[in-house]
Subunit: 183 residues, 2 copies
DNA sequence: GCATCACCATATGAATCATACGGTGTAGAT
DNA sequence: ATCTACACCGTATGATTCATATGGTGATGC
């Protein structure tokens, strides 16, 4: 039970187990995939190694299946619950990251050889974001229909804000590009 | 001159050198810091190792100061310029990442012990984003005054969209929280 | 009783990261 | 003159994260 420093991954693991009860890594993987995994991806291997680390530090209990797949089921300890509560109460570092390859390419747009390259970029990005926006909207309607009003849904609504912004942005890029082209 | 696969970092390095001409790692560091580094951070050590890698692959030329600080100045080769153009012309992977610790904490808001924890979170996030928004606006006005209308400024305008969205979002979170609290 | 595929877990080596450390030039003080 | 302090600049390090490959398990259908 040595001390470890808790990364965002740690808090995700602790949080999910605290919320859903005892879970296996595979279950965590599924839970991540359709929520925060949307914008904050983890390689699934981490959801196997991280709980083990947390168990060694005393934040989780580990129970291992004897035969078969040797599934390990993790449950949260008091110490884990406390660490989680402290994290939520602590001041939050303000730095965030947005890593969007399309945006990066746009940033270097002046180095494109053909103007059509940028048109194609804008069109593709617009379509991708519009599709994602529609998916989020559908999911949101679904949750609304189920009467869900939890924090996960609030987080989803940030996704909506983001995608709406992205769609407007790339439309604007397209528009400016056309104007410049036709002048 | 073995083949290497080009990462986003590679393209940033190639792009900056293509745009600004021969540069040292230190100069790259500065150029990154006040542009894309705002939302897509690179540890500065990478701006030293990456150009070396690219030089070994024939995308950059390296010239080394004999005495003193042993600065290496990199300039782009034809091969590098071509790789860059190909990248811009190629279809862009659509996946993006948003890693915001505040959002993550909100996602687990139901596990907070005191409701005031969430209030504090929202207030802090709101303030941080509002500050950043103001900075971006100021920078944008500055560029406008200088008559700058390049792609870097377009990218900045995405930053504006993002921060405006974030501010609205956290205001909304605050509002809902107050309503819920007073009910 | 065998083939096949979805399910589940781990191993691996490479890439990335934060961070610490160590040199170099220079401007002002003494 | 030379010293000292600090800004400038580059590299090394060990830990963490990552993508990807591999391999075992169990259920289903034939």
């Amino acid at each position: 039970m040595s001390t470890v420093n808790l990364t965002p991954t740690s808090h995700v693991v602790l949080g999910l187990i605290a919320r859903k009860g005892p879970s296996t890594s595979y279950e965590l993987k599924a839970a991540v995939a359709n929520s925060i995994g949307n914008f904050w991806p983890f390689p699934h291997a981490q959801l196997y190694t991280e709980p083990a680390r947390l168990a060694a530090a005393g934040y989780l209990n580990e129970e291992r299946e004897e035969g078969g797949r040797h599934r390990r089921t993790y449950s949260i300890t008091d110490s884990g619950r406390q660490a989680l509560a402290e994290w939520i109460a602590a001041p939050t570092p303000t730095g965030y990251e947005v890593r969007d390859p399309g945006l990066l390419k746009l940033f270097f747009g002046d180095l494109a050889q053909a103007p059509s390259d940028l048109e194609a970029l804008a069109a593709a990005q617009l379509e991708a974001h519009a599709t994602r926006l529609e998916e989020y909207r559908e999911l949101d309607r679904l949750l609304e229909g189920m009467g869900v009003h939890d924090h996960a849904r609030t987080t989803l609504s940030f996704g909506l804000v983001y995608e709406e912004g992205a769609v407007r942005f790339w439309q604007q890029v397209q528009r400016e590009h056309r104007e410049r082209g036709s002048r």
